[in-house]
């Protein structure tokens, strides 16, 4: 067996669906039927998961550290809100795609700024873009509603068939469907040769360029795609809550997103989904203990995670599942977080 087919074989083996993944999605679907009184928070988690997955695409696969990912979320949210408010595109799915495309255009335009320079410049530029958009949204308050936000958005039935109900059931399954479809696409992308080349860039841009990968073009492509995903997440936010306000651009949103991804782990797509669940639960827990000061505990979690070390933490968490698998199936550990630190 020569090297090329060897690489191809192992890449294909990684790309295959595992039983665990199927079980994961079945559990998510089952949650939709098991907790009918919790649709709102579960929809919130799905949205956050999609948003985190979008950051994972650029952070976990391409190694771009962004402090302003909320920019695209916000553009998607306002685009969906404005489309629905002025009745330009009434059908939610079409509006969702349109909002995603709007964020994508912004992502493409700003990607040229982001690929220049080192980590530090990237941090500054992404942060600056999000702040700039927030200032713009505040400035043009006749369009965006300023600090009051967009109000009085009425959503039409999905595909003209299923209306949004007040318990959020339709919203939940709508969000779940969108998340799953986008997940399938992202999964396909990261396991393709394109996705493998992104990992090569993340590990060593210089070496990647030397073996003939067009580094800048790949980074622009994935950044644009991630912007599309974030835009969709923002549009889902507006469509399921029927509001869009200035805080969609807030720095805290970008910072929280980082925490979500760090809790879940980067570079295997499920990190965002798992992180979103844990993050929301932590948030609920902290705000029941200290309603006003939950941010303190969130901060503490971040500090502890970094001090302990992300990889070590994930090893600890996976220790018990791996032990069980070892005992029951008699195999060596199969559950692992394929995380390479940048």
């Amino acid at each position: 067996m020569n090297a090329a087919s060897d690489v191809g074989y192992s890449a294909q083996r990684h790309a295959r669906w595992h039983y665990g993944e199927v079980a994961f999605w079945l559990v998510v679907l089952a949650c939709g039927f098991a907790f009918p009184s919790r649709y709102l928070i579960m929809t919130d988690i799905l949205r956050l998961a999609l948003f985190a997955m979008s950051l994972d695409l650029i952070l976990g696969y391409a190694g771009i550290v962004s402090l302003g990912h909320a920019a695209f979320f916000g553009v998607g949210a306002y685009a969906a809100g404005l489309l629905a408010l002025h009745g330009i595109v009434n059908e939610p799915v079409l509006a969702l795609i349109a909002a995603g495309l709007a964020a994508m255009v912004l992502g493409f335009a700003t990607s040229f700024l982001v690929i220049r320079g080192v980590d530090l410049t990237r941090l500054m530029v992404t942060l600056g873009i999000a702040l700039l958009l927030e200032a713009l949204a505040e400035r043009f308050s006749n369009i965006t509603g300023g600090t009051d936000g967009l109000q009085g958005i009425e959503m039409q039935p999905i595909l003209g068939q299923i209306p949004f109900d007040m318990f959020g059931k339709a919203g939940f399954f709508y969000s779940l469907a969108v998340l799953f479809l986008l997940f399938l696409f992202a999964r396909r992308v990261v396991h393709s040769p394109f996705g493998l080349s992104l990992r090569a860039i993340k590990n060593n841009p210089l070496r990647a360029a030397a073996i003939g990968i067009p580094v800048n073009r790949r980074l622009i492509a994935i950044y644009t795609l991630a912007a599309f995903y974030a835009g969709i997440a923002g549009a889902l936010f507006t469509q399921t809550t029927a509001i869009a306000s200035l805080d969609v651009f807030a720095f805290e949103r970008s910072a929280d997103l980082m925490l979500v991804l760090v809790i879940g782990g980067t570079g295997y797509l499920y990190g965002g989904l798992i992180g979103a669940v844990i993050f929301r639960m932590l948030q609920e827990l902290f705000s029941t203990i200290t309603p006003q000061y939950w941010q303190f505990w969130i901060g503490l979690v971040l500090v502890v995670i970094v001090l302990v070390g992300r990889q070590r933490l994930h090893r600890w968490v996976l220790y018990v599942p791996n032990l069980i698998i070892k005992q029951v199936a008699g195999r060596k550990a199969v559950v692992a977080v394929p995380e390479s630190d940048s």
Binding site: L113, T121, R139, Q292, Y293, I298
Partner: protein, 289 residues
């Protein structure tokens, strides 16, 4: 004409203040290549210490200022020895996460202890009001800021350029390995510099309560300003950040006065354009290695 001069004066005072607040960050971020987003938290600590001393315990304002410096520096050195020093070699992502976490904690902690509303420091009567100089309105408080910050800047430049410690620091930054080979205790130099930078931030925080406003959200609100000063100014000397903060101060005051509707828009656009044009800052060799 006089309005322009008054604006210029205010802008210079604002810029000087930003320089004192941010020059500690210029060292950690620019020289030690550590992304410290929690820098504003040290400034806030100094501001609150000064507020408590002056308002609650009746200290004179000028006696409380040095204590603001000392307390922030003490917090800085404690955190540097216990937490920060483990993270120097980590990735930027880890540093960002860690310092964001610290910022969140400081915001919530101050909110818990002192309440979330804006606080004011009682100023002595000699510092209030303004006087006319050839028809230009000069605020007494702002004049004091320019004097204090100007002296500090000159002093810093002297220390960095002329003293033994200054040359050690420059050597440690240029090439840590060669410097430690020559017998310079690099971690000690860094720790001392870090603490000094935090102390300056604390002093700046105490001075800025009157002009920028002091509330628990201070670290988040002004983080971007500090970062702009450092990234735009570069890090080869302290002249770069100094000029950058003057530029930022004058630009911001003028922007708010002449095009109030554009708000902070001008500053952010300027920053992005400058970073695209020169990714390593206007005056810098390299912002990061």
């Amino acid at each position: 004409m006089t309005a322009i001069l008054t604006n210029l004066f205010d802008g210079v005072a604002y810029g000087m203040l930003l320089f004192v607040l941010a020059c500690g960050l210029a060292v950690t971020l620019g020289l030690m290549n550590f992304v410290n987003l929690a820098h504003g938290a040290f400034a806030m600590a100094g501001g609150y210490v000064c507020m408590v001393l002056v308002n609650r315990m009746g200290w004179p304002f000028f006696a409380a200022l040095p204590l603001a410096f000392v307390s922030s520096a003490a917090i800085g050195i404690a955190l540097e020895r216990t937490l920060y020093r483990h993270l120097y070699a980590r990735s930027h992502l880890d540093q960002v996460l860690f310092t964001i976490g610290l910022t969140f904690m400081s915001v919530a902690a101050v909110d818990y202890i002192q309440g979330s509303s804006r606080v004011f420091i009682n100023l002595p009567a000699a510092l209030q009001g303004q006087f006319d100089l050839f028809g230009v309105g000069i605020g007494r408080y702002r004049l004091m800021i320019i004097v204090i910050c100007g002296l500090l800047t000159v002093g810093l430049q002297m220390v960095l350029a002329k003293t033994r410690f200054g040359s050690r620091l420059r050597a440690a930054v240029d090439d840590p390995r060669a410097a430690s080979g020559l017998g310079i205790n690099v971690p000690q130099v860094f720790a001392f510099t870090f603490a000094f930078g935090c102390g300056l931030a604390g002093l700046g925080g105490a001075l800025s309560a009157e002009i920028l406003g002091l509330d628990p959200y201070f670290p988040l609100k002004f983080m971007i300003y500090f970062l702009i000063v450092v990234t735009v100014g570069g890090s080869s000397s302290i002249t770069g950040p100094f000029l950058a903060s003057l530029l930022l101060g004058i630009g911001d005051v003028a922007g708010k006065y002449y095009v109030p509707k554009m708000g902070p828009f001008v500053i952010y656009t300027m920053m992005i354009v400058i970073l695209i044009w020169r990714p390593n800052g206007l005056f810098g060799r390299t912002a990061a290695r």
